[in-house]
Structure formats: structure tokens, C-alpha cells
């Protein structure tokens, strides 16, 4: 953060006012346009235009065949009464709470352990490994490990006298299971983000605490957590938004089932658009998701602003 602002002020305060710089600046316009041309095409065609079009499609009846027919707010009137949507929102919320809750605690634990124990890049890398493989791969491996008959997890639980479970086939367990599978995938990544935050806390603060005879436990709660607050909020912003858009794991393992037990919002949008050809309705659903994510982001930004580091 600091490096950016420094560089920017340097640049602004730089030799902008000298004659040569001004002459160079005038010559910059044409090359600048050339340099941003490909990125601008990409931005206009695949980001800006689809955003506008997405809002328009949400006001239409569109089956992908023929032309979209404008129907005003009909889709939105319909979705207010859509029981599957209400259920999907609850299921998604349950997923996000379990996923983010467990992931943040576990990642914080891993980050603190790494910070206190070792500088080894190998260990940090090992923890990061699951993050590098595809969601589909992760989903398939856990689908196999959690298989109700042959899965190794049930075998190991059996040694402790716990009876086998159909983890993806039980409507009470499917969302926690998917949430924990994704915790496994992302915990190392999240831990590294928090670890980076831990490294910004000066060693002198810890030394002072040690001199004062503070225990590790007390130091953690009284020093580490308060000083880490801005980083934690940043990590939450990055992970919560992604968590709301869970799709791959559900699509590969439970396909929304059993019943509607794991029909999360993005999977429901996908089904409406591509299995039932309700493209207009699916667009309206994604407007809902967009609004929810925007609200979540705004709330988090507020919290972030209130959470400036105690170091400054």
C-alpha cells in the first residue's frame, strides 16, 4: 500500500513541469492508445458490454432460441415467490458461514504456527499444494475418499467405532462436507496471506512483550490479533466473495442433491440457464447474486475502514 502511494506521488511530483517532459508527454497520447488498445477491446467486449447486457437480459424472456422478449420486471416478480431460490440462498449462506468460519480459524492457526516455528519455504509450499490443483480434481479425490462404501475416511472412522456415512448423499451433511473439502483446498492459500500480514508486525513488539513476561497465549490475543485485524478483514473480503460463488465442487459431487440440499445459488443459476433454457430468469437470478455480493462488499469495506491497524 505504502509503496504504491510513494511511487505515485514521486511520479506526480517528478519532472512533469520541465520543458522536455512536457514535450515527451504530448508525444505520449498516440503510443498510449496503441498500448491499451488490446486490453480495452477485451474490457469493452467481455466485461463492460456483458455487464450491461446482463441487466437487460434479466428483463427479458429468453430461451436462447429466437430473440430475447422484453417483459419488464416479470422475472423479478417471479423470483420473489421462488421457493427453490429462497432455499438456494439459505444453503449458500450455510456453506459460506461454515466454509469461511472454519477456513479463517484454521488458516490463522497455520499462519501463526509457521510464523513461530519455521522460515521454511518448503513447508509453506506443502501447505499451499491443494490450492494449485483444479477444483474438479479436489472434488473427485474427496468424492472417492468420502465414498460411503470404499472410502478411506469411513474406514479410518470405523477404527474408532464410528459407523460409515454417505457424506455427499445425506442432506444434513452434504453442505458441511462440501464446505470442508473447500477449506482443505484453500486453507494453505489463506494461511499464506495471513502469514504475510504477520511478517509486517515488527519483531520489537514481540521482544517487548517477552521482556514484560507475557505468555505466548496472551501475546497472541493482546498483540497479534489486534495488529493483524486489517489483514484479516482484507482476507475475509477476498474469500467471502469467492465463497458465495461455489459451483465446481457441487457440480462434480452432489449435483445439487439430495433433493435441494446442496443446490447453491450459482448451481441453480446454471441449471435455469442451461438445463431449462430459462436464460432471462437465470440472468435475473444473477442480478440478485450481484446485489448480494455488492452489499457484502460494502459492509466489509465499512468494517475495513473502521479497522485501521493499531500500528500506525
Amino acid at each position: 500500500m505504502q509503496a504504491t502511494t510513494q511511487a505515485e506521488t514521486l511520479q506526480r511530483a517528478g519532472p512533469a513541469k520541465t520543458g522536455r517532459a512536457r514535450r515527451l508527454a504530448r508525444g505520449d497520447v498516440i503510443p498510449a492508445l496503441l498500448f491499451i488498445l488490446p486490453a480495452t477491446i477485451g474490457f469493452l467486449v467481455f466485461y463492460l458490454w456483458p455487464t450491461v447486457r446482463g441487466f437487460y437480459l434479466s428483463l427479458t424472456d429468453y430461451s436462447l432460441f429466437g430473440l430475447p422478449k422484453f417483459v419488464g420486471l416479470k422475472n423479478f416478480q417471479q423470483l420473489v415467490h421462488d421457493k427453490v431460490l429462497i432455499n438456494a440462498l439459505w444453503v449458500t449462506l450455510e456453506y459460506v458461514v461454515i466454509n469461511i468460519g472454519v477456513q479463517t480459524v484454521v488458516a490463522l492457526g497455520i499462519a501463526v504456527l509457521m510464523h513461530r516455528l519455521t522460515e521454511s519455504t518448503t513447508i509453506r509450499g506443502a501447505v499451499l499444494l491443494p490450492y494449485l490443483v483444479a477444483n474438479v480434481v479436489v472434488a473427485l479425490v474427496w468424492l472417492w475418499m468420502l465414498d460411503s462404501q470404499l472410502g478411506i475416511v469411513n474406514v479410518i472412522l470405523g477404527w474408532f467405532g464410528i459407523s460409515p456415512e454417505a457424506w455427499f448423499g445425506n442432506s444434513a451433511l452434504v453442505i458441511p462436507t462440501v464446505a470442508l473439502v473447500n477449506v482443505w483446498k484453500h486453507m494453505g492459500y489463506t494461511a499464506l496471506l495471513i502469514f504475510a500480514g504477520l511478517q509486517t508486525i515488527p519483531k520489537t513488539v514481540y521482544e517487548a512483550a517477552a521482556v514484560d513476561g507475557s505468555s505466548e497465549w496472551r501475546t497472541f490475543w493482546r498483540i497479534t490479533i489486534p495488529l493483524l485485524r486489517p489483514v484479516l478483514v482484507l482476507v475475509l473480503i477476498m474469500t467471502v466473495i469467492g465463497s458465495f460463488q461455489v459451483f465446481d465442487t457441487v457440480a462434480v459431487t452432489s449435483k445439487g442433491g439430495p433433493g435441494n440440499a446442496s443446490r447453491v445459488i450459482q448451481y441453480y443459476i446454471y441449471e435455469q440457464a442451461f438445463s431449462r433454457s430459462h436464460f432471462g430468469y437465470a440472468s435475473a437470478l444473477s442480478v440478485v447474486l450481484f446485489v448480494i455480493l455488492a452489499v457484502v462488499a460494502i459492509i466489509q469495506m465499512r468494517v475495513l475502514r473502521g479497522g485501521e491497524s493499531d500500528l500506525d
Binding site: 515527451l24 466485461y47 497455520i110 480434481v137 504475510a196 509486517t200 459451483f247
Partner: protein, 312 residues
Amino acid sequence: MATTLKTTTPSAHTATAPAPGRQISWGRVAAWAVMIAIILITIFPFYWMLRTALSNGKSLPAHSSSFLPADFTWGPFKRVFGLASVAEAQAEGGSGANINFWLYLRNSVIVATVITAGQVFFSCMAAYAFARLRWPGRNLVFGLFLTALMVPPIFTTLPNFVLIRQLGLLNTLTGIVLPFVFMTPFAIFFMRQFFLGISREIEEAARIDGAGHIRIFFRVIVPMAAAPITTLAILTYISAWNEYFWPLLVATDDNARVLTVALGVFRSQTPQGTPDWPGLMAATLVAALPMLLLFVAFGKKIVNSIQFSGIK
């Protein structure tokens, strides 16, 4: 860290109290135990993939609690690469169906390579214009590009699908690549950060020598930013290789299918009864292999870049 601890422990004996030193080391033992447990949980599913991929499908039920391959065989890998006859495959619990694994592998390589090359190159160009050139409206345009980060991918995905369909690019690799090849807001942001930090003097010197912008970009800026460009390329390659949702929508038949989508299809194609887990695990392992190799080659860089993206 370990060394400093060793050197301070003896002095603690001679000075005040030996008890705290011993307490801390017991705490460290416990902390290491937790750390090792976490690493085991992280690594074990990868081992399990390998163990299953070297097992005979027919022998899995009898050996479900064995940690070694059940009735060791290379069969699953042979099935994946189409080297096993139908009879051989069925003898080991495979379906014997023909799998175009090489085709999917080729598609994945093409898609990930083209996306990475295009996205990194075009984003670098744009980042150069945003960081080093002076032109009216520069910060406004950059701000507009960054707002694209706020729009959830699913929201633009539906209209982008309509566009790709209208262009007649469904079931083509071009259709999969196109929305990602020009830019991502993150890539531009990432590169701009580095370009801002490059000293202006070198650039000015090149200009005085009569070098144009294009020459400066290729001969001065790009070589100086080789390290961050490599990092960005690795991160882009990983996410392009692992992408599931978009290629799932665009490629519905074999010709343009990438590995992640193909894995999902293998999973749903399994006939009644038990799926061919060894074949599936061999396929996931091969699909994950390029990422694991990238990791072995660039692990340290990946770890550092993720920490950087956290601090940004």
C-alpha cells in the same frame, strides 16, 4: 529461528530461571506436532490418488483398509492413455469405453498457453501505458478497468455465453480462450505496481538515445520486469488450466473439451455400480501433474507472489 533458540537456552540456565525455557520447548514440540498433522492432512489425498491409481479396481473392496496399492498394476494409467484393450480394461474394473485423453490434454495445453501468453502480454502493454505514459484520462480509464473486479464472474458469464454463441464459436477452443485472452483487471493492476517502481532515469536515458516507446517497452521495461512477468504468467497458467465453469458451458462435445471438463464427464458417465475409481484417480493425477511440476520448478516464486498479492 531454531538456531537462535539453541544458543539462548544455555545462557538462560546460568542467568535467571530455567523453567520458562523448558516450557517453551515443550510448547514447541506440541506446535510442531500440530504442524506435522496439518501437513499430513494436506499431503495425504495426493498420496491416496497415487495409491488408487496403481490399484486393480476389482481388488479395491477387499483391500479398502490397506494403505498400499491394492493388487499393484499400471492398468489405470494404460486405460487413461488408451493403451489397454477393452478386455484388459474390463478385467480391472474399467468400462472399456474409448477415452480421448490425449485430445483433452492437447486442448488444455493450447487453452492455458494461449490465454497466458495473450493475457500477460496485453496486460503488460496496458500496464505500461497506465504506469509510464502521460495522457489525459489515464487515471479515469484505469479506475474504470478496476471496477470490472467488482462484477462477479457468473454475471458476465451468461451474456458472454450468448455472445460466443452468436459468433458461432461454441465448441471451439477460440470460444473458450477469447474472453480471457485480452486482459484481466488483476493482471493489469499487478504489472502496473511493478512498472511504477522502475526508476525513471533509465527510461529517460533510453529516450535521449532516440529510442521510441515500443523499443523502450521491449528493450528496457520488459527485461527489467522479467521476474514479476514470470510470476504473473505462472498464476495465469494455473487458473487457466484449472478453469471449469466456462469451458463446461462453451464446449459440449469432444473436440473442444478440456481436461477439467472431461474429468467431470468421466465421473458422470460411470455406469451403475461402482465407478472406475483407479481410472478416475489416474486421470486426475495426470490432469494435476502439470501444476505439480510447475510447483516443483517455481514453488518459491508462487509462495512469494501469493504473499505479495496479500500485501498489495
